[in-house]
């Protein structure tokens, strides 16, 4: 009974565009999930770092061989350094300094600056590519559900083919062929990653299509376009928000994986590229591989927590 009341409330609010009270209702439900709040806080923090960080950090591509392989603050390592005067390797102890709080890599580039640059890349790719994938997926899903018939059939068969396609291989192929620029990476992920959204939106729309308020709108003579944009899409929005939030981690990881195998944009340091470099200096500078990975893990975790919290908040059946 409760459940009915809640869904009815949701429909009505979307109907009248009374989004604010609805949003505050969902916010209250989600705020009870501590992990989701942690996720949201971390994402906001990361966004701030990505936007403002570059003004406070040095150029991430600036090479300084004088200060190479510096450990992060609080760590001391022993290094063997070639000494020109004596023509010998001498062992020295190097400690991290506040000039490079997260240390430097083997070319003396500032790790903090590179991490900040990587945050920028990850968020850009994550949001833009997910945006593209969600828009394509929603359009195909709603069209499929609403138009039905052979169009539905053709679109869903096409989705099947795309779903069966080995996603990562396709990505590698496209990026290799068209060149590893950030724009192409975003496009490639966006253009291949919409299949799941299309399926889910289609099935949600199909069940909505038979609901009373859509029937009523049609009976009142609303045009197809009006039914879709005023009634169907607003009601699948909560589903779309959840799918989007839960898709972002996959996209961020796909970009990092591409960079990791050498198909990242070589002009901008991203977490995947740093990680790839760090893999080769595990014996001399472990932090180069550790730091971008921790950032990746936290970012993906944050989006997963948030997405999970949103799904529970939007699900009228769950008792948060």
């Amino acid at each position: 009974m409760n459940e009915r009341k809640e869904t009815a409330g949701k429909d009505r609010a979307a109907f009248h565009g009374g989004g604010f009270r609805l949003a505050s209702y969902y916010w209250q439900r989600m705020a009870r999930n501590r992990l989701a709040i942690f996720g949201l806080a971390f994402i906001i923090f990361l966004a701030l770092v990505a936007i403002a960080g570059p003004f406070f950090t040095p150029d991430p591509t600036e090479v300084d061989f004088e200060a190479k392989n510096m450990p992060p603050v609080g760590f001391t390592i022993t290094q063997s350094v070639y000494d020109i005067k004596t023509d010998q390797f001498i062992t020295t102890r190097v400690s991290g300094t506040w000039k490079h709080p997260l240390g430097t890599d083997r070319k003396g580039r500032d790790m903090l600056a590179m991490i900040v640059s990587g945050a920028r890349v990850s968020l850009q790719v994550g949001l833009l590519a997910t945006g593209i994938a969600i828009i394509i997926g929603t359009i195909i899903g709603v069209m499929s559900a609403y138009l039905g018939g052979w169009i539905d059939n053709a679109l869903m068969r096409f989705t099947d083919v795309m779903m069966t396609f080995p996603f990562f291989l396709l990505l590698v192929l496209i990026v290799f062929i068209f060149g590893p620029s950030l724009a192409f990476i975003v496009l490639a992920i966006g253009l291949t990653g919409w299949t799941g959204t299309a399926r889910l939106v289609r099935s949600e729309s199909l069940s909505l299509r038979t609901r009373e308020f859509v029937m009523a709108a049609k009976a009142l003579g609303a045009s197809d376009g009006r039914v879709v944009f005023r009634h169907l899409i607003p009601n699948v929005i909560s589903l779309i928000i959840v799918i989007a939030t839960l898709s972002i981690p996959g996209v961020i990881l796909a970009e990092a994986a591409l960079s990791f195998i050498g198909l990242g944009d070589p002009t901008v340091p991203s977490w995947g590229i740093i990680l790839e470099e760090g893999q080769h200096s595990l014996t001399t500078a472990w932090w180069v591989a550790v730091e971008p990975g921790i950032m990746l893990l936290l970012t993906v975790l944050a989006f997963n927590f948030l997405g999970d919290g949103l799904r529970d908040a939007f699900d009228p059946k769950s008792n948060v």
Binding site: T164, I177, Q279, N304
Partner: protein, 325 residues
């Protein structure tokens, strides 16, 4: 129960799988052949060094491999050869594609098989335990850990495992040793880190799926019936509840298998230098070796389609209510 309808269904699905495979083959073929570079490009440096005219030599090489013909004709010939069982010639390794695949598939196979077993067995056991002990500290801990497990980038996990267990502790080699005989303890040991790398994400996912599938069934009336009959708890959980939870699990596990064949396994092979099909196709892409790229994509796709079909058939035995039209 007669399952005559099942044969028709399998035939229909096989046909459908073939059509999908053909679609993927075509897309891949077009992608690799419309690229701006040519498989002959790798000879450019040699040619220039010898002072020959690059365009002439390239043309000669292309003519030899039939690359100068119209793309449509190449496509037609490729399909024609494929139907006769000829997978083509690998340009970058100078051997038949089929030989190349025969040589490397086992490395991918052993990695994927061991990782799946590792993930499924441990993941399902933890999932069951977590569901039975719902809302206890152990359940919360496993749920939290599984969140981390699905969020951890597996290539990074691989690098970290190498850092800790190979570089710092010296327990394993930093690279997979290809000289080891396949069925040996040494090989199993060499695969430990790669299996953990590829398996952790799956394991965490299986914990979550198993837990929720078990919870969906734990409060069903038939479970009370089973207890009312005086069955011991391990039979109630292991037989009555788990058999029902298994249905959604099988689909998800099989579906995952498809996506890891080309995602995680690929990256794991690169991190540990395992010469599996992922590594091979990666090198082939960089070398513009299109017959290899198309062949491996096609084989991967066929494996995924076959696994899906087998899952559907297995389903009819796991769930007697299922009947496909």
């Amino acid at each position: 129960m007669r399952k005559g309808w099942l044969r028709d269904y399998i035939l229909k699905r096989l046909l459908y799988s073939l059509i999908i495979a053909w679609g993927i083959l075509t897309v891949t073929f077009i992608l690799v052949r419309v690229g701006p570079s040519s498989p002959a490009d790798k000879y450019l440096a040699n040619i220039a060094a010898r002072g020959q005219d690059p365009s002439q030599v390239i043309a000669a090489i292309e003519a030899r491999y039939g690359l100068d013909k119209p793309v449509l004709q190449q496509y037609g010939e490729y399909i024609f050869n494929l139907l006769r069982g000829n997978w083509g010639w690998s340009l970058s390794t100078s051997m038949p594609v089929i030989e190349l695949i025969k040589h490397h598939w086992i490395y991918s196979f052993q990695l994927i098989l061991l990782s799946s077993l590792f993930a499924a067995i441990i993941g399902i056991l933890i999932g069951i335990y977590s569901a039975v002990k719902q809302y206890t500290k152990a359940d919360y801990a496993f749920t939290f850990l599984s969140f981390i497990g699905i969020s951890i980038p597996n290539f990074w996990l691989g690098v970290m495992l190498i850092l800790v267990f190979s570089v710092k502790l010296g327990l394993f080699k930093t690279y997979y040793d290809t000289t080891l005989p396949l069925f040996s303890l040494a090989n199993l040991k060499a695969l430990t880190l790669p299996v953990i790398t590829l398996g952790t994400g799956m394991l965490a996912a299986y914990v979550r799926y198993t837990r929720s599938a078990m919870l969906d069934n734990l409060r069903k009336p038939f479970v009370t019936t089973a207890r009312a009959k005086g069955l011991p708890e391990h039979i109630v959980i292991g037989k009555h509840v788990f058999r029902n939870a298994l249905l959604p699990l099988v689909t998800i596990i099989m579906f995952d298998l498809g996506s890891i064949v080309f995602g995680g396994a690929y990256l794991t092979e690169i991190v540990f230098g395992i010469p599996g099909l992922g590594q091979v196709s990666f090198n082939a892409i960089f070398a513009n070796d299109y017959p290899v790229v198309v062949a491996i994509t096609l084989i991967g796709t066929l494996v995924v389609l076959l696994v899906n079909l087998v899952t559907d058939i297995a389903y009819t035995y796991l769930d007697p209510r299922i009947r496909y039209e």
